[in-house]
Symmetry: C2
Subunit: 194 residues, 2 copies
Amino acid sequence: MSQDAAYTASRSPEFALLGFLAAGPPTHGYDLHRRLIDELGQVWHASQSQTYNILARLEARGLVGSTVVAQARLPARRLLELTPDGRAQFEAWLAAPTGASIRAMRVDFITRLYFAARLHPEMVPGMVQRELNTAHALLHDLQADLAATPADQPFNRLALDLRIRQLSAVIDWLANCTPNEGVSHAPPLPPDLA
Amino acid sequence: MSQDAAYTASRSPEFALLGFLAAGPPTHGYDLHRRLIDELGQVWHASQSQTYNILARLEARGLVGSTVVAQARLPARRLLELTPDGRAQFEAWLAAPTGASIRAMRVDFITRLYFAARLHPEMVPGMVQRELNTAHALLHDLQADLAATPADQPFNRLALDLRIRQLSAVIDWLANCTPNEGVSHAPPLPPDLA
DNA sequence: CGCGGCTACTCACTCAGTGAGTATACATGA
DNA sequence: TCATGTATACTCACTGAGTGAGTAGCCGCG
């Protein structure tokens, strides 16, 4: 992942995995995969081997370190922990703005919210507001694109129209998006074991 | 691409490229790429080398054949043509239902519409109707998922809520989806930033 | 007459994503 | 009791998505 240059839209749950390690004690791949499915299964879809792939890459990049720990009866675990560099990268990602695309809002932004709610809950309202601003700006751009797309590209116009509608749905959602209150119908998120 | 098993959601524009060959005379990769960008640039995003990669795979799978044609001054072209197998696969894909996911509707379905409008325009209204039915069924499933997601997974609930809103936007779009008439614009959404 | 942009394709690479395999432990119930 | 299934924990080998740089001659433009 290029160091600085905005995390436009991570395409794999690497930061979610880093985040589980940043928000809790060291743990192993099997457990991280299970938590990804349990906690963010509607956001990310990764097979078990995909999770292991990502973790191996994170280790190769020096963001996590590992120690193999034998167990009495069950298979040995490779215990993973964040390196200082890994923690720094995660925090940088968490604080960075989410890329301006619908997918980034659905996937990256919710992941950021998840960890912000646990690690820096005071950041949450500002994040939602910033995201709303980004979404409005993007909506504006898409409308300009649509206006600039000639009638001889009806399918590009169709696609833009759909993206505009979807983005409007994102904006509505953001306006009601208060994870600590639950989603419109969902009950409160406990302040958590700090 | 597994032969039979529904084309759930092609992740690359391979069928669009086959379609350009199915709908017109043999042509070369550079031209196919340009047409992909010009005609469906809001649907698919592929770099030039990605297009060449896909074409090479299609050839390896026997769906297209190629002949290199030298030119007087400009670089030689590799002229591509559909094989009978390629045409059969394309027609099968065109007639198949689009997978039940939001992405599939935004990407696969619009691509199908594009080629259906050119090759079998009489199919279009039925396709839209079928897609509407699929979308309603999916909406129902998502609502059931949301109801089944416990309150201790607030971020899964958040993600489902967003998907439901986006799917509702797809349904609105489908209901107004008449490609040959141009697009009737989405109603302006929240009164914020105009 | 130099410069950027078009035509047309190639190569080498990393990451995404799948599927099958390995080997042990424990619960279930017929 | 003993087969069956499920959970633990990780490994390997593969195809495909996607990027970026490179090549190299041609053409128009000021």
